[in-house]
């Protein structure tokens, strides 16, 4: 009878980007087993109402949450990745790109937009984990750099929403240098005295953590998000030790001093704008006035 449960194929492995992590269909089941209708979930900021589980979402959803009436102008929407190294592992990078574009309908792993949040102009960049694990290659670096340039030009705050496994291996050292490129731009943003809010969402690891994700005037996160430099599996392999409970969760990272606060997704818009008003010494806006 155990044959019912036996795997027919041995060694099934699913690439990270193929794993399902966005709600599809009519129902969503949270990791604690709570079931919620997709429509209800969307209305609740993609947070499971019964257990407050923050479902992984992408740029489309975050823009919807943060920009007033979901109105914004997308910046540099046409930038796409090249395959300068002609990289090939078990699959050609050029084919991986095509497949990812087809599957997600996205051009690459970050989208950047300019619009109003609670009535005031802002530039937001948001990564998409669905696109090759939210990996940072030349396009991600360039789009973030240009978005920061745009924020400097418009003299508006910049919000970066990270959601990434790290640098894109298929662009090797070119992707590594995006850490320096984006950090240099952030130094220019700082020089212009414009606020930089870094929102680290589930997951934020590797090269992303080792650059813009940790460089905010404030670094903030959502409950339970995984944030770290080396991923948990790597740390476990390197140390041979059992990892402490809650290791590398947003709560852990905040407790060790690297996050300013953790916000429920429903409060993100209010809290980000409150910080902006406070740090710029402007009157505090309320949602009613801006709506």
């Amino acid at each position: 009878m155990t044959a019912w449960f036996r795997r027919k194929e041995k060694g099934i492995q699913t690439a990270t980007e193929e794993k399902k992590d966005t709600p599809k269909g009519l129902w969503y089941k949270s990791p604690t087993g709570k079931i919620v209708e997709s429509e209800v979930l969307a209305k609740n900021f993609y947070v499971s109402p019964e257990d407050d589980y923050h479902v992984r979402i992408g740029s489309k959803e975050y823009f919807e949450i943060l920009f007033d009436d979901n109105k914004f102008r997308e910046l540099d929407a046409k930038l796409t990745s090249k395959d300068p190294l002609k990289f090939e592992d078990t699959k050609k990078y050029s084919e991986r790109l095509k497949a990812a574009q087809k599957k997600t309908g996205l051009k690459d792993a970050v989208r950047t937009g300019f619009g109003k949040s609670m009535g005031k102009d802002i530039v937001i960049a948001c990564m998409d984990f669905n696109f090759i694990g939210g990996s940072m290659g030349s396009v991600v670096g360039e789009k973030i750099a240009r978005a920061i340039d745009y924020a400097i030009k418009k003299k508006v705050p910049f919000v970066m929403i990270s959601k990434s496994g790290g640098a894109r291996m298929m662009e090797a050292a070119l992707s590594l240098m995006q850490l320096a490129k984006t950090s240099a731009k952030l130094a220019q943003l700082a020089e212009a005295k414009l606020p930089y809010i870094s929102l680290c969402t589930d997951p934020t690891t590797g090269g992303t953590t080792a650059s813009y994700a940790m460089l905010g005037d404030i670094n903030i996160s959502e409950p339970g998000a995984l944030i770290g430099f080396a991923g948990p599996r790597v740390v476990k392999e390197a140390t041979g030790k059992e990892l402490p409970d809650g290791f590398q969760t947003a709560e852990f990272v905040k407790e060790h001093g690297f996050l300013d606060f953790i916000s429920h997704r429903r409060d993100l818009k209010k809290k980000i704008n409150l910080y902006i008003d406070l740090i710029q010494n402007n009157p505090v806006r309320s949602e009613e006035i801006s709506a």
Binding site: L85, A172, L176, M177, L179, S183, S211, M214, F247
Partner: protein
């Protein structure tokens, strides 16, 4: 001397040469002609092997046990003017990241670099050249101190990566590296970076942003080691040679991609075959680069540095 697998023909010839010379000393037979022949063959073999190195062989050379490490360079270049400085003023003194002041000629420099050990005990003491957050913070403290007194910075990179561990994560490895990268993009003194061995990922870049980035001929620099790349993308450790090729991690590739500024040639047989010569070459390169950079104002320096990194990346549109 230790030998890598592809260096074995060299070892064999060196042994033959030794034997030949011993025979010459111990007997009346004139072996000078034979010795000369072996010497020539040795030089030709060495040349031949080093002319056609694969990417993976260069990775092996970058980790050669006899290869000079950061402190070897600094001690050779500065002699007894080198004054090592310790500690990050927060947690502890990271032994995998060293730094201090030293002179080349009349000019003071702040030297910073990852340090590896030369035997089991010292390798552990140096954590295999993998720095923790406090190492990066110590490096930053020294850089800021150099900036304050207008002293140029020289960074030697030789690391298999930043340390991965529970404590490293608790103390913010990502933040420490990120902070260094950002501060280095705007540091108001010249920064010269030399890759002397392994240049792995954020752990390398954490002290690797500079006005000039030089790579020794037999070193590698990339986003990940070929072994880890093989394990992640091929899901097996067997593809490290292929991964090394695919990552385009050699000095020649990195120069072609415009991600480094200059390749530093090593003596025949690699840096470990003639350490003194290597030290001299590196010292001269540092001096030459500094002479160009010292003419720039801090503003020109920082803006050129930022522009250089802004140019990096290849994309459509």
């Amino acid at each position: 001397m230790e030998y890598l697998d592809f260096e074995l023909p060299i070892k064999e010839l060196e042994e033959q040469l030794d034997k030949c010379m011993i025979i010459g000393q111990e007997s009346d037979v004139d072996v000078s002609e034979t010795c000369k022949q072996i010497e020539k063959k040795l030089a030709d073999t060495r040349k031949e092997i080093y002319k056609n190195l694969t990417a993976w062989q260069r990775v092996q050379l970058s980790r050669h046990p006899n290869r000079p490490y950061t402190l070897d360079y600094i001690n050779a270049i500065c002699g007894d003017t080198f004054l090592e400085l310790h500690g990050d003023r927060n947690v502890k003194d990271d032994k995998a990241m060293i730094g201090g002041l030293g002179k080349i000629g009349d000019q003071s420099f702040m030297f910073i670099g990852q340090q590896k050990g030369y035997n089991t005990k010292t390798r552990q003491y140096r954590n295999f050249g993998m720095a923790n957050p406090e190492g990066y913070r110590k490096a930053l403290r020294l850089m800021k101190s150099a900036e304050k007194f207008n002293i140029p910075v020289v960074c030697f990179i030789d690391t298999p990566g930043g340390a991965a561990g529970i404590e490293a994560e608790e103390r913010g490895q990502g933040e420490a590296i990120a902070r260094n990268i950002l501060e280095m993009t705007r540091l108001k003194v010249p920064i010269i970076v030399v890759i002397i061995g392994e240049g792995a990922s954020g752990g390398a870049l954490g002290i690797g942003v500079g006005d000039r980035v030089l790579m020794l001929e037999n070193t590698w620099y990339s986003v990940i080691s070929p072994e880890s790349c093989s394990s992640i993308l091929w899901r097996s450790w067997e593809y490290k040679e292929v991964a090394a090729e695919a990552l385009k991690l050699t000095a020649t590739d990195m120069k072609k991609l415009k991600l480094i500024d200059e390749i530093v040639r090593e003596p025949a047989g690699g840096a470990h075959a003639n350490r003194e010569k290597t030290f001299e070459v590196v010292k001269n390169k540092i001096v030459a680069q500094f002479e160009v950079l010292e003419k720039l104002s801090p503003k020109e320096l920082v803006s050129a540095r930022m522009d250089k990194y802004a140019q990096m990346g290849v994309f459509n549109g």
